[in-house]
């Protein structure tokens, strides 16, 4: 397989990293990952914090089913939703990666 990046040397690496496209990719990824990570950490730790230091979650929602259990089940839903969301987002990132790879090939051909 002929990978367009095989011939990329240190100097070209620096150039590639400096390109607007590459910087945009990193920024998009970081924004998405950091904001969702903060969200799931807060969501996740709310449960043990509330069960450890308060009794609010012991109230019933319906019969013997309390808020604590519903919040616990919500952790599973949250995980699956964020998993699917990431898969979708990552496809956009893949698109950007493909664009960067094809444009770095173009440049090599120009300089050759």
């Amino acid at each position: 397989m002929n990978d367009p990046l095989q011939s990329v040397k240190q100097r070209d690496v620096d150039k590639l990293v400096a390109t607007e496209q590459f910087q945009a990719l990193i920024k998009k990824k970081k924004n998405f990952i950091i904001s969702t990570s903060i969200f799931f950490f807060v969501f996740y730790f709310s449960l043990p914090i509330m069960t450890s230091f308060t009794d609010y979650l012991n109230y019933s929602i319906s019969g013997a089913l309390t808020f604590a259990w519903v919040f616990a089940f919500a952790q599973f839903v949250m995980t699956w939703v964020l998993c699917s969301l990431y898969t979708k987002k990552a496809k956009q990132f893949d698109q950007l990666v493909a664009e960067i790879k094809s444009s770095s090939v173009d440049k090599e051909e120009e300089s050759a």
């Binding site: 990046l5 690496v13 450890s52 259990w69």
Partner: protein, 515 residues
């Protein structure tokens, strides 16, 4: 003795040996040995990750904890699952793109100093062996209960089997043992859950209402606080659970078995669905055991509740279902320990031997030989340690492995891919402080010390009340890596761009060398 159980155990041994026989014919090169030639599909690796991860501790341990303490046992289920978001978002794709065979490869992609690789390899070995002792001691006790075999015989059987899988079949055999185990475990758990749920007319509310009066805890059974009554310790446990998975070497090496970052990503997604469904079902296992077996009977069989799931199977489906679930537990143990042998052996053979001792001047044949002997060595060390640990309460070792992984590996993995200023000194500080602070904190904790003889390993007053070191050791790991970097002048900046390109666009060197 239950002859059906004995028969099913033999069937599992036979099936895994057949797998190993076929895998051995496809295990000729180091790449095939360590990574199954990176040939697994997303589905296959997803199942294998699940099989690698869902240990007997979670299958038997969580079912027992929920049966005996209600809500608190479920904390483990939640933490073990949510941890996969950290794996998916932060480590899976970068490690696939940066590494080759081991976790240390990933750090060495940026810092090629031998010291960094050595410390990273030391971490992998420490975590894998600590985790393995917990699994082997549990396995010995379980097989003793299920088949009436001597503890030492049981540990030796498991030890010999795991060595055969890894030495002859490498990653291919290990992966397929894990895949089959995942399927068996899901099938067994689903079956029991459906039977339990049917007894409550498939009504969640009816099941919860029944649990209010089913145990000696009464209504408190459904509320948090029966097991964990120290708030900071609960938070510490949760922190270790959610951050630890992303630093466990035997999970990380699974990402080398697929060909690229996209497949690594999809395998985590498959794994997360499987693992999530499994941990959700632990409620049925736990509630079912509490309702249909009863607290007294569970405690009589095993004080920690480890027999809850097999006893529930017996209560619901008689000897055959009991035998089936016992066999599933056996397969579970085999799959997990095989993965652990492989991760510790790869750190010894690939990192210490090939890179540090031989400085990379080593032939393919020598590497294979080293990998196989390292596997044998790791297995022998673990079995010997497990034999000595028979009488000790080692359940805390799983938590310790998670805490070490979260405190020593995760900070360095994150800084390596995100922080330009990060350098070798920071990496070494972070890993050593993370490792030793977790170990020292546990040595001072109630896991080791208790004023009641027999309750912990030594008699005396614990110096700290935390049983889980995470809440202190994880911030310390991050802090040490940060301070080590700030207080040393050394810059490794130039390589960071290379790392960025590899992380985000894919690894190019590896494609060349694996051809």
């Amino acid at each position: 003795m239950n002859y059906t159980a004995f028969g099913l155990f033999l069937l599992i041994i036979l099936a895994t040996l057949v797998i190993t026989y076929y895998a051995a014919r496809r295990t000729k090169t180091t790449s095939e040995f360590y990574t199954a030639g990176s040939s697994l599909t997303g589905w296959q690796n997803g199942l294998a990750i699940a099989g690698d991860y869902m240990s007997a501790a979670s299958f038997l341990g969580i079912a027992g904890m929920i049966a005996l303490t209600g809500f608190d046992g479920f904390f483990y289920s939640i933490g073990f699952l949510v941890a996969y978001l950290v794996v998916l978002y932060i480590v899976a794709e970068p490690i696939r793109n940066l590494g080759k065979y081991t976790m240390a490869d990933m750090i060495a992609a940026r810092f090629d100093e031998k010291k960094v690789r050595g410390v990273a390899a030391l971490n992998s070995v420490a975590i894998s062996i600590v985790y393995m002792i917990a699994q082997l001691v549990g396995a010995g006790a379980l097989i003793k209960l299920l088949l009436n075999l001597e503890y030492s015989t049981a540990v030796l059987i498991v030890g010999v089997l795991m060595t055969i899988y890894v030495v002859f079949g490498g990653m291919t055999a290990t992966s397929w043992v894990q895949i089959i185990k995942a399927v068996l475990l899901m099938a067994g758990t689903l079956l029991i859950s459906l039977i339990v749920f049917a007894k409550f007319d498939f009504s969640l509310l009816k099941m919860f209402a029944h649990m209010k009066t089913a145990t000696p805890l009464g209504e408190a059974f459904l509320n948090p606080g029966n097991k964990f009554n120290n708030g900071w310790d609960t938070l510490s446990l949760n922190l270790g659970l959610v951050l630890g998975t992303a630093g466990l070497p035997h999970i990380l090496i699974r990402f080398f078995t697929v060909r690229d970052a996209q497949t690594a990503r999809s395998s985590v997604v498959y794994a997360t669905w499987i693992i999530g469904i499994f941990y959700l079902m632990t409620i049925f296992l736990g509630f079912g055991a509490a309702a249909f077996v009863g607290t007294d009977t569970i405690k009589q069989a095993n004080e920690a509740g480890n027999m809850a799931a097999p006893l529930l199977a017996q209560a619901l489906g008689g000897d055959f279902l009991f035998a089936f679930i016992a066999a599933v537990a056996f397969a579970t143990i085999l799959a997990v320990v095989a993965g652990l042998v492989l991760s510790a052996a790869s750190a010894f053979a690939h990192d210490f031997y090939s890179h540090i001792i031989r400085r990379g001047n080593v032939t393919e044949q020598q590497q294979m030989k080293a990998a196989k002997w390292a596997s044998v060595g790791v297995a022998i060390i673990s079995v010997v340690l497990a034999l000595f640990a028979q009488k000790l309460n080692v359940a805390f070792l799983v938590g310790l492995a998670f805490a070490v992984a979260a405190s020593s590996n995760l900070p360095v993995i994150i800084y390596t891919i995100l922080w330009r200023r990060f350098n070798t000194t920071g990496a070494i500080w972070g890993m050593l402080v993370g490792l030793f602070s977790s170990l020292i904190l546990v040595c001072m904790s109630p896991n080791i010390w208790s004023t009641e003889p027999g309750k912990a390993i030594l008699v005396g007053t614990p110096l700290i009340s935390l049983t889980n070191p995470g809440i202190i050791s994880i911030p310390l790991g991050f802090l040490a890596a940060y301070l080590g970097t700030i207080f040393s002048a050394k810059q490794d900046d130039p390589k960071f761009n290379q790392v960025l390109v590899q992380v985000h666009l894919g690894n190019v060197d590896q494609k060349e060398s694996s051809v």
